[in-house]
Symmetry: C2
Subunit: 201 residues, 2 copies
Protein backbone atom coordinates (compact mmCIF):
# COMPACT_ATOMS: atom_id res chain seq x y z
CA UNK A 1 0.00 0.00 0.00
CA UNK A 2 1.06 3.59 0.40
CA UNK A 3 4.41 4.14 2.00
CA UNK A 4 3.89 7.76 2.97
CA UNK A 5 3.74 8.40 6.71
CA UNK A 6 0.63 9.53 8.57
CA UNK A 7 0.24 12.74 10.54
CA UNK A 8 -1.04 12.25 14.10
CA UNK A 9 -2.20 15.24 16.07
CA UNK A 10 -2.41 14.60 19.80
CA UNK A 11 -4.24 16.98 22.12
CA UNK A 12 -5.73 16.81 25.57
CA UNK A 13 -6.06 18.80 28.78
CA UNK A 14 -3.09 19.89 30.85
CA UNK A 15 -2.01 17.12 33.21
CA UNK A 16 -3.47 14.26 31.18
CA UNK A 17 -0.05 12.87 30.28
CA UNK A 18 -0.08 13.43 26.51
CA UNK A 19 3.55 14.57 26.47
CA UNK A 20 4.75 11.37 28.12
CA UNK A 21 2.68 9.24 25.74
CA UNK A 22 4.11 10.97 22.64
CA UNK A 23 7.70 10.89 23.88
CA UNK A 24 7.53 7.23 24.92
CA UNK A 25 5.85 6.32 21.66
CA UNK A 26 8.62 7.64 19.43
CA UNK A 27 11.26 6.08 21.71
CA UNK A 28 9.78 2.64 21.11
CA UNK A 29 8.59 3.02 17.48
CA UNK A 30 11.22 4.03 14.95
CA UNK A 31 8.58 4.46 12.22
CA UNK A 32 7.34 7.55 14.10
CA UNK A 33 8.88 10.91 15.02
CA UNK A 34 7.82 13.94 17.05
CA UNK A 35 7.46 17.21 15.20
CA UNK A 36 9.79 19.96 16.44
CA UNK A 37 8.11 23.34 16.86
CA UNK A 38 9.55 26.73 16.06
CA UNK A 39 9.41 29.33 18.84
CA UNK A 40 10.43 32.89 19.55
CA UNK A 41 11.09 32.08 23.19
CA UNK A 42 14.72 31.94 24.30
CA UNK A 43 16.24 28.49 24.80
CA UNK A 44 16.30 27.35 28.41
CA UNK A 45 19.40 25.86 30.03
CA UNK A 46 20.26 22.62 28.22
CA UNK A 47 17.78 23.04 25.37
CA UNK A 48 19.14 22.69 21.84
CA UNK A 49 18.14 24.24 18.52
CA UNK A 50 16.63 21.54 16.29
CA UNK A 51 16.15 19.16 19.22
CA UNK A 52 13.75 20.83 21.65
CA UNK A 53 12.68 23.67 19.36
CA UNK A 54 13.81 25.68 16.39
CA UNK A 55 14.64 29.02 18.05
CA UNK A 56 13.87 31.88 15.67
CA UNK A 57 13.35 35.63 15.93
CA UNK A 58 10.00 37.35 15.95
CA UNK A 59 10.75 38.74 12.46
CA UNK A 60 11.55 35.27 11.12
CA UNK A 61 8.37 33.95 12.69
CA UNK A 62 6.20 36.65 11.13
CA UNK A 63 7.83 36.16 7.75
CA UNK A 64 7.07 32.44 8.11
CA UNK A 65 3.40 33.16 8.80
CA UNK A 66 3.23 35.50 5.81
CA UNK A 67 4.69 32.79 3.55
CA UNK A 68 2.32 30.11 4.92
CA UNK A 69 5.19 28.13 6.37
CA UNK A 70 3.33 26.94 9.50
CA UNK A 71 0.76 24.18 9.77
CA UNK A 72 -0.47 25.98 12.89
CA UNK A 73 0.77 28.73 15.15
CA UNK A 74 -0.20 30.33 18.42
CA UNK A 75 0.93 32.78 21.06
CA UNK A 76 1.54 31.51 24.59
CA UNK A 77 2.80 33.71 27.45
CA UNK A 78 3.91 36.33 24.96
CA UNK A 79 5.98 33.90 22.86
CA UNK A 80 5.09 32.51 19.47
CA UNK A 81 5.00 28.79 18.76
CA UNK A 82 4.41 27.10 15.41
CA UNK A 83 4.71 23.83 13.51
CA UNK A 84 6.97 24.15 10.45
CA UNK A 85 5.06 22.72 7.50
CA UNK A 86 8.08 21.83 5.37
CA UNK A 87 9.82 19.69 8.01
CA UNK A 88 6.59 17.80 8.73
CA UNK A 89 5.79 17.14 5.06
CA UNK A 90 9.35 15.95 4.39
CA UNK A 91 9.18 13.46 7.24
CA UNK A 92 5.80 12.20 6.00
CA UNK A 93 7.20 11.82 2.47
CA UNK A 94 10.12 9.81 3.84
CA UNK A 95 7.59 7.32 5.23
CA UNK A 96 7.70 8.31 8.91
CA UNK A 97 4.57 8.94 10.95
CA UNK A 98 4.79 12.40 12.46
CA UNK A 99 3.25 13.19 15.85
CA UNK A 100 2.28 16.75 16.75
CA UNK A 101 1.46 17.35 20.38
CA UNK A 102 -0.55 20.59 20.28
CA UNK A 103 -3.48 22.45 21.77
CA UNK A 104 -7.05 22.15 20.50
CA UNK A 105 -6.98 25.47 18.61
CA UNK A 106 -3.74 24.53 16.85
CA UNK A 107 -5.14 21.11 16.02
CA UNK A 108 -8.09 22.69 14.26
CA UNK A 109 -5.67 24.83 12.21
CA UNK A 110 -3.77 21.71 11.20
CA UNK A 111 -6.98 20.02 10.12
CA UNK A 112 -7.82 22.85 7.76
CA UNK A 113 -4.38 22.46 6.07
CA UNK A 114 -4.11 18.70 6.33
CA UNK A 115 -7.52 17.02 6.63
CA UNK A 116 -6.01 13.56 6.08
CA UNK A 117 -4.33 13.82 9.49
CA UNK A 118 -5.48 11.63 12.36
CA UNK A 119 -6.70 13.58 15.38
CA UNK A 120 -6.39 11.94 18.79
CA UNK A 121 -7.71 13.42 22.02
CA UNK A 122 -6.24 12.11 25.27
CA UNK A 123 -8.60 11.91 28.25
CA UNK A 124 -8.00 10.97 31.89
CA UNK A 125 -10.02 8.10 33.44
CA UNK A 126 -12.14 10.76 35.20
CA UNK A 127 -12.21 14.47 36.03
CA UNK A 128 -11.36 13.57 39.62
CA UNK A 129 -8.25 11.71 38.44
CA UNK A 130 -7.19 14.72 36.33
CA UNK A 131 -7.49 16.90 39.41
CA UNK A 132 -5.44 14.39 41.43
CA UNK A 133 -2.71 14.41 38.80
CA UNK A 134 -2.58 18.20 38.72
CA UNK A 135 -2.45 18.34 42.54
CA UNK A 136 0.15 15.54 42.60
CA UNK A 137 2.59 17.75 40.76
CA UNK A 138 2.67 19.99 43.85
CA UNK A 139 3.70 22.91 41.67
CA UNK A 140 0.41 24.79 41.25
CA UNK A 141 -1.80 26.78 43.58
CA UNK A 142 -5.43 25.84 44.11
CA UNK A 143 -6.43 28.73 41.94
CA UNK A 144 -4.30 27.61 39.01
CA UNK A 145 -5.60 24.04 39.33
CA UNK A 146 -9.18 25.33 39.33
CA UNK A 147 -8.49 27.31 36.15
CA UNK A 148 -6.86 24.30 34.46
CA UNK A 149 -9.88 22.13 35.27
CA UNK A 150 -12.22 24.79 33.88
CA UNK A 151 -10.14 24.97 30.73
CA UNK A 152 -10.09 21.15 30.49
CA UNK A 153 -13.91 21.15 30.49
CA UNK A 154 -13.91 23.62 27.60
CA UNK A 155 -11.49 21.38 25.72
CA UNK A 156 -13.59 18.25 26.31
CA UNK A 157 -16.49 20.06 24.67
CA UNK A 158 -14.40 20.28 21.47
CA UNK A 159 -13.16 16.72 21.48
CA UNK A 160 -15.79 15.48 19.07
CA UNK A 161 -13.81 17.22 16.36
CA UNK A 162 -11.16 14.52 16.85
CA UNK A 163 -11.15 11.05 15.29
CA UNK A 164 -10.19 9.06 18.37
CA UNK A 165 -10.13 9.34 22.11
CA UNK A 166 -7.31 7.75 24.01
CA UNK A 167 -7.98 7.15 27.67
CA UNK A 168 -4.71 7.42 29.58
CA UNK A 169 -5.54 4.95 32.33
CA UNK A 170 -1.98 3.68 32.32
CA UNK A 171 0.96 4.40 30.04
CA UNK A 172 1.36 0.89 28.62
CA UNK A 173 -2.30 0.62 27.61
CA UNK A 174 -2.28 4.12 26.13
CA UNK A 175 0.80 3.32 24.02
CA UNK A 176 -0.74 0.08 22.83
CA UNK A 177 -3.97 1.89 21.83
CA UNK A 178 -2.00 4.56 19.98
CA UNK A 179 -0.10 1.83 18.14
CA UNK A 180 -3.39 0.14 17.20
CA UNK A 181 -4.80 3.43 15.90
CA UNK A 182 -1.71 3.96 13.73
CA UNK A 183 -1.88 0.42 12.34
CA UNK A 184 -5.64 0.57 11.74
CA UNK A 185 -5.40 3.94 9.99
CA UNK A 186 -3.00 2.41 7.46
CA UNK A 187 -5.80 -0.05 6.62
CA UNK A 188 -8.48 2.66 6.48
CA UNK A 189 -10.28 2.32 3.17
CA UNK A 190 -10.07 5.92 1.90
CA UNK A 191 -6.27 5.77 2.26
CA UNK A 192 -6.08 2.70 0.05
CA UNK A 193 -8.77 3.19 -2.54
CA UNK A 194 -6.42 4.48 -5.25
CA UNK A 195 -4.10 1.54 -4.74
CA UNK A 196 -7.00 -0.92 -5.01
CA UNK A 197 -8.46 0.69 -8.11
CA UNK A 198 -5.04 0.60 -9.74
CA UNK A 199 -4.12 -2.95 -8.77
CA UNK A 200 -7.40 -4.84 -8.65
CA UNK A 201 -10.14 -3.19 -10.71
Amino acid sequence: MKNKGLLFVVSGPSGVGKGTICQEYVKTHDDSVLSISATTRAPREGEKHGVNYYYITNEEFEAGIAKGEFLENAVFCGNRYGTPKKAVLEMLESGKNVILEIEVQGAMQVRSHYPEGVFVFVIPPSLKELENRLRGRNTETDDVIKKRLERAKQEFALCEKYNYILMNDNLGDALSKLEAIMKAERCYMPRNIEFIKKEFC
Copy 2:
Protein backbone atom coordinates in the same frame (compact mmCIF):
# COMPACT_ATOMS: atom_id res chain seq x y z
CA MET B 1 -16.02 3.39 27.97
CA LYS B 2 -18.73 1.27 26.46
CA ASN B 3 -18.62 -2.41 27.20
CA LYS B 4 -20.85 -3.54 24.36
CA GLY B 5 -19.09 -5.62 21.70
CA LEU B 6 -18.52 -4.48 18.15
CA LEU B 7 -19.84 -6.16 15.02
CA PHE B 8 -17.16 -6.92 12.41
CA VAL B 9 -18.22 -7.90 8.92
CA VAL B 10 -15.44 -9.57 6.93
CA SER B 11 -15.72 -10.05 3.16
CA GLY B 12 -13.35 -10.67 0.31
CA PRO B 13 -12.97 -12.70 -2.86
CA SER B 14 -12.94 -16.49 -2.92
CA GLY B 15 -9.46 -17.82 -2.18
CA VAL B 16 -8.24 -14.75 -0.27
CA GLY B 17 -8.09 -16.60 3.05
CA LYS B 18 -10.78 -14.70 4.95
CA GLY B 19 -12.16 -17.87 6.53
CA THR B 20 -8.77 -18.80 8.00
CA ILE B 21 -8.26 -15.26 9.33
CA CYS B 22 -11.65 -15.22 11.09
CA GLN B 23 -11.28 -18.73 12.55
CA GLU B 24 -7.75 -18.11 13.79
CA TYR B 25 -8.77 -14.75 15.23
CA VAL B 26 -11.49 -16.14 17.49
CA LYS B 27 -9.21 -19.01 18.55
CA THR B 28 -6.66 -16.52 19.88
CA HIS B 29 -8.99 -13.73 21.13
CA ASP B 30 -11.62 -14.73 23.65
CA ASP B 31 -13.28 -11.30 23.45
CA SER B 32 -14.46 -12.23 19.94
CA VAL B 33 -16.75 -14.89 18.50
CA LEU B 34 -17.81 -16.00 15.03
CA SER B 35 -21.46 -15.67 14.14
CA ILE B 36 -23.16 -18.97 13.29
CA SER B 37 -25.39 -18.83 10.22
CA ALA B 38 -28.73 -20.51 9.69
CA THR B 39 -29.10 -22.63 6.55
CA THR B 40 -31.63 -24.83 4.82
CA ARG B 41 -28.89 -27.09 3.47
CA ALA B 42 -28.52 -30.52 5.05
CA PRO B 43 -25.66 -31.01 7.52
CA ARG B 44 -22.59 -32.68 6.00
CA GLU B 45 -20.80 -35.57 7.71
CA GLY B 46 -19.41 -34.34 11.02
CA GLU B 47 -21.18 -30.97 11.04
CA LYS B 48 -23.18 -30.06 14.12
CA HIS B 49 -26.29 -27.96 14.69
CA GLY B 50 -25.32 -24.79 16.58
CA VAL B 51 -21.61 -25.30 15.83
CA ASN B 52 -21.19 -25.15 12.04
CA TYR B 53 -24.69 -23.90 11.25
CA TYR B 54 -28.20 -23.79 12.60
CA TYR B 55 -29.95 -26.29 10.30
CA ILE B 56 -33.54 -25.22 9.72
CA THR B 57 -36.29 -26.02 7.24
CA ASN B 58 -37.25 -23.85 4.30
CA GLU B 59 -40.52 -23.00 6.07
CA GLU B 60 -38.68 -21.91 9.22
CA PHE B 61 -36.31 -19.84 7.11
CA GLU B 62 -39.13 -18.05 5.28
CA ALA B 63 -40.95 -17.40 8.54
CA GLY B 64 -37.69 -15.91 9.87
CA ILE B 65 -37.42 -13.58 6.89
CA ALA B 66 -41.05 -12.51 7.30
CA LYS B 67 -40.43 -11.70 10.98
CA GLY B 68 -37.22 -9.78 10.20
CA GLU B 69 -35.13 -12.28 12.12
CA PHE B 70 -32.09 -12.12 9.81
CA LEU B 71 -29.42 -9.43 9.59
CA GLU B 72 -28.84 -10.63 6.04
CA ASN B 73 -29.81 -13.62 3.95
CA ALA B 74 -28.99 -15.06 0.55
CA VAL B 75 -29.50 -18.08 -1.68
CA PHE B 76 -26.44 -20.08 -2.71
CA CYS B 77 -26.62 -23.23 -4.87
CA GLY B 78 -30.32 -23.53 -4.15
CA ASN B 79 -29.90 -23.36 -0.36
CA ARG B 80 -30.73 -20.44 1.90
CA TYR B 81 -28.19 -18.92 4.29
CA GLY B 82 -28.81 -16.19 6.83
CA THR B 83 -27.38 -14.46 9.90
CA PRO B 84 -29.75 -14.71 12.90
CA LYS B 85 -30.13 -11.20 14.30
CA LYS B 86 -31.07 -12.20 17.85
CA ALA B 87 -28.00 -14.38 18.47
CA VAL B 88 -25.68 -11.67 17.14
CA LEU B 89 -27.26 -8.87 19.19
CA GLU B 90 -27.17 -10.99 22.36
CA MET B 91 -23.44 -11.67 21.91
CA LEU B 92 -22.80 -7.96 21.32
CA GLU B 93 -24.78 -7.06 24.45
CA SER B 94 -22.72 -9.54 26.46
CA GLY B 95 -19.61 -7.57 25.45
CA LYS B 96 -18.19 -9.92 22.82
CA ASN B 97 -17.10 -8.71 19.41
CA VAL B 98 -18.97 -10.69 16.76
CA ILE B 99 -17.37 -11.54 13.42
CA LEU B 100 -19.55 -12.26 10.38
CA GLU B 101 -17.76 -13.74 7.40
CA ILE B 102 -20.14 -13.03 4.53
CA GLU B 103 -20.37 -12.03 0.88
CA VAL B 104 -20.46 -8.44 -0.33
CA GLN B 105 -24.21 -8.39 -0.96
CA GLY B 106 -24.93 -9.76 2.51
CA ALA B 107 -22.53 -7.23 4.03
CA MET B 108 -24.50 -4.38 2.48
CA GLN B 109 -27.71 -5.83 3.96
CA VAL B 110 -26.06 -5.89 7.38
CA ARG B 111 -24.99 -2.29 7.02
CA SER B 112 -28.56 -1.17 6.40
CA HIS B 113 -29.67 -2.87 9.66
CA TYR B 114 -26.56 -2.14 11.71
CA PRO B 115 -24.64 0.88 10.40
CA GLU B 116 -22.40 0.98 13.49
CA GLY B 117 -20.77 -2.27 12.32
CA VAL B 118 -17.17 -2.28 11.12
CA PHE B 119 -16.77 -3.49 7.55
CA VAL B 120 -13.47 -5.11 6.59
CA PHE B 121 -12.56 -6.22 3.07
CA VAL B 122 -9.74 -8.76 2.74
CA ILE B 123 -7.51 -8.44 -0.33
CA PRO B 124 -4.67 -10.58 -1.64
CA PRO B 125 -1.23 -9.01 -2.21
CA SER B 126 -2.02 -9.02 -5.96
CA LEU B 127 -4.46 -10.46 -8.49
CA LYS B 128 -1.71 -12.83 -9.65
CA GLU B 129 -1.30 -14.12 -6.09
CA LEU B 130 -5.07 -14.69 -5.83
CA GLU B 131 -4.93 -16.74 -9.03
CA ASN B 132 -1.98 -18.72 -7.65
CA ARG B 133 -3.89 -19.48 -4.46
CA LEU B 134 -6.96 -20.62 -6.38
CA ARG B 135 -4.79 -22.81 -8.63
CA GLY B 136 -2.85 -24.11 -5.62
CA ARG B 137 -6.01 -25.70 -4.26
CA ASN B 138 -5.94 -28.08 -7.27
CA THR B 139 -9.67 -28.54 -6.95
CA GLU B 140 -11.01 -26.27 -9.66
CA THR B 141 -10.94 -26.31 -13.45
CA ASP B 142 -9.42 -23.44 -15.43
CA ASP B 143 -12.89 -22.31 -16.32
CA VAL B 144 -14.03 -22.11 -12.67
CA ILE B 145 -10.86 -20.23 -11.71
CA LYS B 146 -11.44 -17.74 -14.53
CA LYS B 147 -15.01 -17.15 -13.30
CA ARG B 148 -13.83 -16.70 -9.70
CA LEU B 149 -11.26 -14.11 -10.80
CA GLU B 150 -13.90 -12.25 -12.80
CA ARG B 151 -16.18 -12.28 -9.79
CA ALA B 152 -13.32 -11.10 -7.56
CA LYS B 153 -12.85 -8.07 -9.80
CA GLN B 154 -16.55 -7.21 -9.45
CA GLU B 155 -16.19 -7.49 -5.68
CA PHE B 156 -13.11 -5.26 -5.58
CA ALA B 157 -15.17 -2.58 -7.31
CA LEU B 158 -17.52 -2.58 -4.29
CA CYS B 159 -14.83 -2.57 -1.63
CA GLU B 160 -14.97 1.18 -1.10
CA LYS B 161 -18.22 0.58 0.76
CA TYR B 162 -16.11 -1.02 3.49
CA ASN B 163 -14.28 0.80 6.31
CA TYR B 164 -10.99 -1.05 6.12
CA ILE B 165 -8.97 -3.19 3.78
CA LEU B 166 -6.92 -6.00 5.20
CA MET B 167 -4.15 -7.27 2.96
CA ASN B 168 -3.65 -10.96 3.62
CA ASP B 169 0.07 -11.08 2.83
CA ASN B 170 0.63 -13.53 5.64
CA LEU B 171 -1.65 -14.83 8.36
CA GLY B 172 0.25 -13.39 11.33
CA ASP B 173 0.29 -9.87 9.90
CA ALA B 174 -3.35 -10.08 8.89
CA LEU B 175 -4.37 -11.16 12.42
CA SER B 176 -2.32 -8.37 13.94
CA LYS B 177 -3.96 -5.80 11.65
CA LEU B 178 -7.43 -7.12 12.48
CA GLU B 179 -6.60 -6.87 16.18
CA ALA B 180 -5.43 -3.27 15.68
CA ILE B 181 -8.64 -2.39 13.83
CA MET B 182 -10.73 -3.82 16.69
CA LYS B 183 -8.73 -1.92 19.31
CA ALA B 184 -8.76 1.34 17.35
CA GLU B 185 -12.50 1.12 16.71
CA ARG B 186 -13.09 1.04 20.48
CA CYS B 187 -11.31 4.40 20.62
CA TYR B 188 -13.22 5.82 17.64
CA MET B 189 -14.72 9.15 18.73
CA PRO B 190 -18.36 8.62 17.67
CA ARG B 191 -18.49 5.45 19.79
CA ASN B 192 -17.38 7.38 22.89
CA ILE B 193 -18.99 10.76 22.55
CA GLU B 194 -21.91 9.99 24.87
CA PHE B 195 -19.56 8.73 27.54
CA ILE B 196 -17.41 11.87 27.29
CA LYS B 197 -20.37 14.23 27.40
CA LYS B 198 -21.69 12.42 30.46
CA GLU B 199 -18.40 12.18 32.35
CA PHE B 200 -16.45 15.26 31.33
CA CYS B 201 -18.67 18.06 30.05
